[in-house]
Symmetry: C2
Subunit: 251 residues, 2 copies
């Protein structure tokens, strides 16, 4: 089995190392990841400058390819150019901090998995509900089990799975829930400050409210102690709105 | 009526100027746009550095606020901080080059409108099927008519409308079609080259295939000479896949 691993925290992030270690027994794991932190880059790609690729070692051995672009750049470059064969799966993470609710749309971790599915490759984005550096082993072990399950017979179409885990030891995680993307959004504010040259600047801050997002939502499952698995695609069409529009005339 | 105008080509782009001129008779139009080209930034936001805002004049008069961030940053900063009152509508564009099919997910133009809808404000992304600088007036006039229609009674929920026009004079445009986001994707390749210092670099290239994307798709409507209006939301859940997953066990 061939697996491409990437993330949005950069190739040196501990979550990526934990992921690669856990997946190594499944086959060949190739790492193509950003050369620095690129979180909140969503589905951005690099068009107006070239990409550079450097080989990176870890503990004295070759670890992977560091790319001067976004997570989506990494997936494209790996699939279109760097890898000799198409990967069977793409895994993005492990991200400290959930990517649930509406906020998932900002996530580089999630976008890398979406880009994989857009290229016809079943992909996983894996995140843990923790701001501090969490214990990655329950998430890494689940990712391995999930890929084994998918390899033995997945869905008909290549799908992006957005996987979010509670920050709990494996024996306290209650199970798996298949969920939809909820509506949870950051409660945002801009801090307006003055720099040492007395010029004004703005800096985005905010917090993720703990709110009831409905029983079947990703955020609710994680809060309840379950692993949330949400299948995503890249069709943004609001079909309910489209149905209403059919009676409109704009001529 | 209060309208916020933004884009992903930067505050100096002619498409934005044409948009603002066309909408001015409707009420107060406030421009908050990136200070430089930021296309293909998708839903990226700036978290790790501050945003700067500069006032920009055009033809001797104040034109708008130039922000050192992405289109989504501009919408957030405008709505949360810069504007004294919430806008009634947000318009993003006018973009030279369509944002149709799967490719819409990379577009900063489209993401600005999605961000508007996420904040409960009905928003439009407007693009023209042209690579060269097109005649913006048919798109500008349609945008004005569409906003007047929405102001007289819109959909129940704030929606992001992805509007794509053929590059045709107004009297040759055949009408309006309400469409879904098609599956058209760039056919991509990376150009591998060597720089003057003999180091390898990669640069993303590609072309948009002219392919049949189905009768109700955005790209097909534009090819057929119609204005494509696609309602978008930010729920990426693949509900068909979710239904299949309900029979799975991952414990």
């Amino acid at each position: 089995m061939r697996i491409l691993a990437t993330n949005d925290d950069g190739i040196y992030a501990p979550g990526l190392e934990a992921l690669v270690e856990a997946l190594a027994p499944l086959g060949e794991v190739v790492v193509v990841a950003p050369n620095r932190e690129r979180s909140a880059t969503a589905h951005a790609i690099t068009l107006h400058e070239p990409l550079r690729v450097e080989k990176v070692s870890r503990n004295g051995a070759f670890f992977g390819h560091a790319v001067s672009g976004t997570p989506v750049d990494c997936v494209k470059l790996a699939v279109v150019s760097l890898l000799e064969q198409r990967p069977d799966f793409i895994v993005s993470g492990i991200n400290p901090g959930t990517n649930v609710g509406t906020n998932a749309i900002y996530s580089g971790t999630v976008s890398a998995a979406l880009e994989g599915a857009m290229n016809g490759i079943t992909s996983l984005a894996v995140s843990i509900d923790s701001v501090e550096e969490p214990d990655y082993s329950p998430a890494a072990a689940f990712t391995r089990r999930f890929i084994e399950r998918l390899a033995s017979g997945g869905l008909a179409r290549a799908t992006a799975f957005n996987v979010n885990l509670p920050d709990l030891p494996a024996d306290r995680i209650k199970g798996v829930r298949f969920t939809h993307q909820g509506r949870l959004m950051f409660r945002e504010e801009f801090h307006q400050r003055t720099d040492p040259q007395r010029r004004v600047y703005y800096w985005l801050g905010g917090e993720l409210p703990v709110a009831d997002d409905g029983a079947d939502a990703d955020s609710t499952a994680v809060l309840d102690g379950y692993i949330a698995v949400t299948p995503l695609h890249c069709d943004l069409t609001d079909y309910a709105a489209l149905e209403q529009l059919k009676s409109w005339s704009l001529e």
